[in-house]
């Protein structure tokens, strides 16, 4: 019962807080994008090789690009209030459909990468904390630091060289084998084999972050009194580490993971471009290069939704992990 009240309170607080934030983001991003030189009509004209002044004026009028900035902003907000994200001049689809084609790919990649990073990071961090000061800790610290310093896309490239070029085990492009029409296990394995390398490339940096954080947090927790009580009670050391130390160490780790969830969308841009993965990061990049602002605004809006949702989820997770964290 208390949990439901908690969830309700968090959701209400999030909704009240999120409304003006999202509005502010939309207005700011819209105005920011007006500063970018060129618009969609210019890009369409440049891609078709040439265009007359009349045809460009016609394109601008069709997509409302010739109106004043304020009018465009008010139109956009008006459409948004009705749930319409607008129309993309470049892809000739509604922005919503465009995003929906790419959203599953992004979610899959982000979820896999983050889960992988959390799992491996927490395990490595716990091992480092358990053997703190001794050689496993020192060796792992160096390895973790090296992973922290390598650019994610370079890790991806080297993985491609090793696994795709030299060993031929994994594919290096796209999210599935096009035209193969696989079903059942073959389909799952195909998707999985395409997913592993991009997820690893994206996760490499975050594994290091979470490992370091877990190690620091667990060492901090070890010094608390309740750990001594738990040991005095005769609990098995492994159980103490798992149930008491790790549970408390998860709080800072999940906070940071929540912060990363929002940034993962942007950070995935390079990895998605590298692996040709159909995701929203690549869509956003293409939208910037093609001056397709409706799509870009849609992506930015969605990512801020994601960040706000992630923060709310992290709040709830913290309340579950640490009952001392009362309703704020």
């Amino acid at each position: 019962m208390r949990m439901y009240r908690r969830i309700g309170a968090t959701l209400k607080r999030t909704a009240i807080h999120a409304g003006p934030t999202i509005l502010g983001i939309i207005v700011l991003d819209f105005l920011l994008l007006q500063l970018v030189p060129g618009d969609a009509a210019d890009m369409i004209a440049s891609e078709s090789g040439s265009a007359t002044a009349e045809s460009m004026a016609a394109i601008r009028q069709r997509f409302g690009l010739d109106q004043s900035v304020l009018n465009q902003l008010l139109n956009f907000l008006g459409h948004l209030a009705q749930g319409d994200l607008g129309f993309s001049p470049r892809y000739n689809m509604s922005v919503f459909d465009m995003i929906m084609t790419r959203l599953p790919g992004t979610l899959l990649l982000m979820a896999t990468a983050l889960s992988l990073a959390l799992l491996l990071g927490i395990i490595v961090g716990s091992v480092m904390a358990a053997w703190a000061g001794r050689w496993p800790d020192r060796v792992l610290s160096v390895v973790v630091l090296v992973f922290y310093s390598m650019p994610g896309f370079w890790v991806g490239l080297m993985a491609v060289v090793l696994f795709s070029v030299n060993l031929g085990w994994l594919p290096s492009d796209g999210s599935m084998t096009v035209g193969a029409n696989l079903t059942g296990w073959a389909f799952v394995w195909d998707r999985l084999s395409h997913l592993i390398l991009p997820a690893l490339a994206l996760a490499s940096f975050f594994i290091a972050v979470y490992a370091r954080l877990t190690r620091a947090a667990m060492l901090e927790v070890q010094r608390q009194d309740f750990m001594r009580t738990a040991a005095a009670k005769g609990l098995h050391p492994f159980f103490i580490q798992l149930h008491h130390a790790l549970r408390n160490a998860l709080i800072p780790v999940t906070t940071v993971a929540g912060m990363h969830l929002g940034n993962l969308l942007g950070g995935a841009v390079v990895v998605e471009t590298l692996f040709g993965w159909p995701g929203m990061g690549r869509l956003a990049l293409e939208a910037v290069l093609a001056r397709d602002f409706s799509v870009l605004l849609g992506v930015l809006l969605l990512s801020s939704f994601l960040v706000i949702l992630a923060n709310a989820a992290i709040d709830l997770l913290h309340a579950w992990l640490d009952p001392r964290i009362g309703p704020a």
Partner: protein, 292 residues
């Protein structure tokens, strides 16, 4: 009444400095980081002396492997450009962008954070909303948009990365100022009639600096990584060699000449690693909870 004189004057400047120096030397990873960073800085500064020709010039046969020809110890790329010269000149571009971006981010972040932390109330609430707005936008996309607004030159790229990374510093500085605002020396300064600006700059800021210095090294590292990503996506200054650009160019030859992507990546990793080691070491030294 006897006056007890301590055997060592703990407040003496020389002894405090020696202690810090010994702490500095006792940490081998910190020393390693400083040494590696120093090498990169020297390479960047003396790039023109070591490799006077333009690194973008075609000087040899294309796609030579490292070690094949003594004249090109690290080989050549698809257009016959010397990889080693590219790496050394790339150090200059990467470090320049990294330091400039971090400086801009620090400047903006410190001003915003100090104002928000010191004054509190509505100013704080307003500034924190702005920080939140910046933090909900994906950093890399923001950088891409800002670079798209201007042209892809070193100046604009540094500005873009700085503009995208100031929120973290602002939060850090704000937290520091909020806690230091209540301390006794601030109350003393206020009772002496110091102006707000003087209290902020002369009294609180020097005490708030240690975590900011640590954050600075991390920011430079992140700026180098972001710049590498941008260069890889071809949003870089076309007149300068940069490590990320070399990786991007080498990607076309990934099957046959993978060293073209490997070597610049190793350079990036080493530079960022040295910065992280320096940052970790500084954290240990400047952290007031650790013993001198």
């Amino acid at each position: 009444m006897t006056v007890v004189t301590p055997l060592t004057d703990v407040g003496s400047r020389t002894i405090r400095r020696d202690r810090k120096l010994r702490a500095f030397l006792r940490n081998p990873t910190f020393v390693a980081g400083v040494v590696i960073l120093g090498i990169f800085v020297l390479l960047a500064l003396f790039a023109d002396v070591l490799f006077p020709t333009d690194p973008l010039d075609m000087v040899g046969p294309p796609v030579l492997w490292p070690g094949q020809d003594a004249e090109f110890p690290l080989g050549t790329d698809s257009l016959g450009r010397d990889v080693l010269a590219g790496l050394v000149h790339g150090a200059r571009a990467s470090l320049l962008v990294g330091v400039a971006a971090a400086a801009i981010g620090l400047a903006i972040g410190m001003v915003v954070g100090a104002t928000a932390g010191f004054f509190g109330g509505r100013v704080d609430a307003l500034l924190m909303r702005v920080v939140e707005l910046f933090q909900t936008t994906p950093t890399f996309l923001l950088v891409v948009v800002i670079v798209a607004i201007g042209e892809p030159t070193v100046r604009v790229i540094a500005l873009a990365i700085g503009l995208a990374s100031w929120p973290t510093v602002a939060r850090l500085v704000r937290a520091q100022f909020r806690s230091l605002r209540e301390s006794d020396f601030v109350m003393a300064a206020r009772s002496l009639g110091y102006s707000n600006l003087r209290i902020i700059v002369q009294e609180i800021l020097p005490n708030a600096l240690p975590p900011v210095i640590v954050a600075a090294s991390v920011m430079i590292a992140n700026a180098i990584l972001t710049e590498a990503g941008l260069s890889f996506l071809n949003m870089r200054d076309p007149n300068l060699v940069s490590w990320g650009g070399m990786i991007g160019a080498g990607r076309d030859l990934l099957r046959t000449a993978w060293f073209l992507t490997a070597l610049p990546g190793v350079a990036i990793a080493l530079a960022v690693l040295s910065l992280n080691l320096v940052g970790d070491g500084l954290n240990e030294i400047l952290n007031p909870r650790s013993d001198p």
